[in-house]
């Protein structure tokens, strides 16, 4: 623990209902260094970052800036002390000019009136510092994502920033744009700024960072200097004990197991974001789809489900050519879909029962009428089968825990009798116990003959659940691996780079 650190965290902990997001984390950040925070989804990176930026108050522990305690839980105060954050979701006002955005709230005045021209002029030095070559008067809506990112950084600089937090800054950037961002980061560091860089992309972290702190399940696994680290070493630190975990096969060994083709896609896609791909899924298999953020994995599911209908190729389901133009088509064809954003699938003001049977109205009702009795019976059946912990079918679904909400979504598709389930990161934000339950459920469904496309951003999940792992990068399936492929191999394929 160097005493001369610019920013230090001591024993910082934070719990959310059902999840210990951070458990006693120590961290020391020096001036003029790029310090990367590395970890899988749910490792606690974002929580840690929000605590430093003041938007989340830790349950325990303290922050020290130049050795003096910094009151936690106030973004404004953190900013006054020179801590600036750039989040994944950009916070620019797209109708305003670049200059206005950079100096938002610090408008220049002339004769006591806000003067936009003066404000824009005052923003120019910040834009120059990050090498952004656009006029300060340009409306932000005319900029691309990479440029907006730089404007965000310029905005942070306007507060005389000493610690700059960057959350997955390259997730929406191309290779070239990323390089440009790294150059900007280097320049800032040379000026004495400390940069905290959150990411789970190994190659770029090795490229840009000086120090790397790895988090796993809310705990600090270790700190390592980037010069001494290798991708393999970092991957095993991120994944930890699970490196030794054996894949669980759903194959029960009986030779007469029906493995007929359920889905066959040929040159199927929605260019340019989802490139034409071939895909075959068999009855009762779990095909894990692994990819980094932006690899197109969610898009694959959304296209297969007709949310963003395919514009190329052909699709065969259960031996019949189909064209899925809407979710209603997909449901009728026997597909179910659980999206990556749970709140986008549930109707929280509706009851548990109504949510479970929502997609089954054509089945349970008669003509234009609802089949209330059938609905209740079905809902109760699945609440029991999936062990959904709810006081009753009439409880509002919003009152349930994350894991139980996820089970409600699964129940919705069991209710429609779906034979193919597209699950997009179904255990995101679900606590550990409930996770295991969802995993078990997925396996049981597969054993019962349901085909599952399981999308995940965690290698561990892909390996333990998948009968095979499809790796996606840049909008296409780039590799197909067996679940005992090494983490290295999977990560390398997903990174789209050769090591």
């Amino acid at each position: 623990m160097t005493s001369g650190s610019l920013l230090s965290l001591r024993d910082v902990s934070k719990a959310y209902p059902g999840v210990q997001a951070l458990a006693g984390v120590d961290l020391d950040i020096d001036a003029s260094e790029v310090h990367a925070l590395l970890g899988e989804n749910g490792a606690g990176k974002s929580t840690l970052m929000k605590i430093i930026a003041g938007s989340v108050k830790p349950d325990r522990g303290e922050l020290l800036l130049d050795g003096t305690p910094l009151p936690a839980g106030s973004p404004a105060r953190a900013r006054r002390h020179g801590i600036g954050a750039v989040y994944q979701e950009l916070s620019l006002i797209s109708t305003m000019s670049v200059g206005e955005n950079v100096l938002l709230g610090q408008w220049q005045r002339s004769r006591r009136m806000v003067d936009l021209r003066l404000t824009e002029e005052a923003a120019v030095p910040y834009l120059e510092r990050i090498g952004l070559d656009v006029s300060a008067a340009t409306p932000v809506r005319e900029l691309g994502v990479a440029e907006r990112q730089l404007v965000e950084i310029a905005k942070a600089l306007s507060f005389d920033v000493r610690v700059l937090l960057l959350d997955e800054p390259t997730s929406a950037l191309s290779e070239v744009e990323s390089r440009r961002l790294f150059d900007v980061i280097r320049d800032l560091v040379d000026d004495g700024v400390a940069v905290i860089y959150v990411s789970h992309r190994l190659p770029e972290i090795l490229e840009v960072a000086d120090q790397i702190t790895v988090l796993r399940d809310g705990e600090r696994v270790g700190q390592i200097s980037a010069a001494e680290a290798s991708e393999h070493q970092l991957a095993s630190m991120m994944i930890g004990r699970s490196v030794t975990e054996q894949p669980v096969s759903t194959d029960d060994g009986s030779p007469e197991r029906d493995t007929s083709v359920v889905l066959r896609a040929r040159q199927f896609g929605r260019p340019p974001r989802l490139k034409p791909l071939d895909l075959t899924l068999r009855k009762g298999e779990i095909a894990a789809v692994f990819g980094l953020v932006g690899a197109g994995r969610s898009r694959l599911a959304r296209t297969l489900f007709g949310i963003e209908p395919a514009s190329a190729g052909e699709l065969e389901l259960f031996g019949r050519r189909v064209e899925l133009r809407s979710p209603a088509d997909a449901i009728a064809a026997g597909i179910g879909y659980v999206g990556e954003d749970r709140s986008a699938g549930l109707i929280s003001a509706m009851t548990v029962g109504e949510n479970i049977t929502l997609a089954s109205m054509p089945r349970t009702g008669r003509g234009p009428l609802l089949g209330l009795d059938d609905e209740k019976a079905l809902a109760e059946q699945y609440i029991k089968e999936l062990n959904i912990r709810t006081p009753s079918v009439h409880t509002r679904v919003g009152a349930l825990s994350g894991g139980n909400q996820q089970k409600v979504l699964l129940a919705r598709w069991l209710c429609t009798g779906a034979r193919l389930l597209l699950l997009d990161d179904p255990v995101r934000g679900v606590d550990v116990g409930a996770k295991e339950e969802v995993f078990r459920l997925v396996r049981e469904l597969a054993t019962a003959g349901v085909t599952i496309l399981y999308i995940t951003s965690e290698i561990r999940e892909a390996r333990t659940l998948g009968d095979r792992i499809l790796v996606m990068a840049d909008g296409s399936i780039v590799d197909e691996l067996s679940p005992d492929a090494s983490d290295d191999r999977v990560m390398t394929a997903a990174g789209g780079v050769d090591v």
Partner: protein, 349 residues
């Protein structure tokens, strides 16, 4: 839930939360209608103490009779608001339907059944147009129906030539409004005004749609989470279209009842009633941003607005004060409801 709330740190916060929970439990009673019922009971208590005439059957029936048209329009508005829309054209549609019926019956001399059918069709036409513009042209609900509010008053003026109907210069001898409508709107049976029965029938239809049909479930789902409804195979556009169609039809029934009660129709009648329908719906506990609500709440909402006007009238307060009081009551009831939701949300997330 108790497990979650016990995690909230700080004794002060916990004590505050407990106090909140007691209040919330009252407001949450009767399926979220607690707040509206509390206000209704309070109003009745205060007015009955101040004026013995207030609680008489005659007076209460009178309140209902006077506000039946508002109630019919508000039922349609309830469905629209639950679907996360808003229909500013209901009052104008009512005026149009009354005018169309009056003109076809009294001026053109068509049979009363046909005149009523035309009135009804004019309402459905407006509703269909609203639904079309909103779903196909992607015009925001509030703008589409705001435009229609103005346009439909214009159409009604064109239909009536700007004159009250019947206009005595060109009326078919002896005709004013269709007798069936006059009976339903102004008649009574064993002392019960029939218009109340008509209004309650409309409420029944609304409640039936909402609670028993796929359309109703889809309305709640679309209002609660449009994306989730879509992903569950619900046709969002079709649902919205049917909601506005229903609202247009109910507005037409309301407008024809109003003409029957007045024995006349004109393009300006039911002026600003669209705002009263929204107030009644919101007072009745329907979420202004959709996803939850019920017709029974709207009945209470209309009743509260009616009793308030009536009670203040009996007390001899001027119309000026009535407006002030009505406006403030709307705000208080909705503030209570928002508080209930906030506490409920804090307890569950």
């Amino acid at each position: 839930m108790s497990e979650l709330s016990s995690r909230v740190p700080g004794t002060v916060a916990r004590a505050k939360q407990r106090a909140g929970q007691t209040g919330v439990r009252i407001l949450d009673g009767a399926g979220g209608l607690g707040g509206a019922i509390v206000i209704l009971v309070l109003l009745m208590l205060v007015f009955s103490v101040l004026s013995p005439a207030f609680l008489s059957t005659d007076n209460l029936l009178n309140v209902l009779r006077q506000h039946s048209v508002l109630l019919i329009l508000a039922v349609g508005q309830t469905l629209v608001i639950i679907s996360r829309g808003i229909d500013l054209s209901v009052a104008a549609t009512a005026a149009l339907a009354g005018s169309v019926m009056g003109v076809t019956y009294a001026h053109f001399g068509l049979p009363q059944g046909i005149a009523i059918l035309f009135g009804l069709l004019s309402g459905f036409a407006v509703g269909a147009f609203n639904g079309w513009v909103i779903t196909r042209w992607n015009v925001p609900d509030i703008i589409a129906t705001l435009g229609m509010l103005t346009a439909i008053r214009g159409v009604a003026l064109l239909v009536t030539g700007g004159q009250p109907v019947p206009d005595f210069t060109e009326v078919v001898e002896g005709r004013r409004m269709p007798p069936v409508i006059t009976t339903l709107a102004a008649g009574s049976y064993y002392g019960v005004p029939l218009i109340i029965v008509v209004a309650l029938l409309c409420c029944g239809i609304g409640a039936f749609i909402l609670g028993r049909t796929k359309l109703g479930r889809s309305i709640v789902a679309v209002g609660g989470n449009r994306e989730a409804a879509h992903v569950s195979g619900i046709n969002v556009d079709k649902t919205k279209f049917l909601v506005y169609l229903t609202s247009g039809g109910l507005a037409a029934i309301g407008g024809m009842m109003l003409s029957g009660r007045l024995a006349s129709a004109n393009a300006h009648m039911a002026n600003l009633m669209e705002l009263s329908t929204i107030a009644a719906v919101v007072i009745g506990g329907t979420a202004l941003f959709g996803g939850e609500g019920r017709v029974s709440g709207t009945i209470i909402g209309v009743f509260i607005m009616g009793l308030l006007a009536n009670g203040l009238n009996i007390l001899g307060l001027s119309d000026f004060w009535q407006r002030v009081a009505t406006g403030l009551i709307i705000i208080v009831v909705v503030a209570l409801d928002q508080w209930r939701r906030r506490v409920a949300a804090r307890n569950t997330s």
